[in-house]
């Protein structure tokens, strides 16, 4: 993965972190995403195990938002 692509991924993660910090939230989940994005991008290939790691977190986020308000 080239340097520009990695910088774009970091910028994406920092944007999310900025939104969360502005809202008074912990930036830890956003930083976790940044780490996963960058490490996955550098590795180049994705295994089923790597996919499953992020999918459980994602499913939880979706369920949380979709709960009745």
């Amino acid at each position: 993965m080239n340097a520009m692509a990695i910088l774009a991924l970091i910028a994406k993660g920092l944007t999310v972190a900025d939104v969360m910090i502005s809202a008074g939230k912990s930036a830890a989940p956003a930083l976790k995403i940044v780490k996963r994005l960058v490490s996955g991008g550098i590795a180049g290939t994705v295994t089923d195990e790597q996919l499953e790691q992020g999918e459980a977190d994602l499913d939880g986020l979706i369920d949380r938002f979709n709960a009745p308000i």
Binding site: T15, K25, L37, E55, I62, F65, N66
Partner: protein, 138 residues
Amino acid sequence: MHRIALSLVLVASLALAGCGPQLQALQTAVKFGTASIANPVTKERLRTIEDAVTVLFVGLNTWRDLCEAGAINETCKQQIRTVQIYTIQVKPYLFQLRRFVRQNDQVNAVVVFNQLTDLIGTIRAKGAEGGQNLGGGL
């Protein structure tokens, strides 16, 4: 190469212009591209869209938390209910896409990938109507 550069300039221009909902849907289309048999949905592409959906729902949950805390406008609950009409559709599409990619069923994976991309664009646009930037410029 020129085409890629032009797309990047277009996306940046739209983001900087504080564009409306309809343009956010366009940004989504530019970002993910369109899947086809010639441009298949690999595991890497699946992860890219899952990462984008993660970013989207982090933003949506932050919006919801602020709304429930009474920190933003009173109409936010109704706006969130409107967005939920679309967000409820995400999980079934995502489950199907995961299954098709792992089975390398590209015919169905391509169809679901494109439907999910459209849905993400719609959710971002609906969020923008509620005054929320849900990563359309990401």
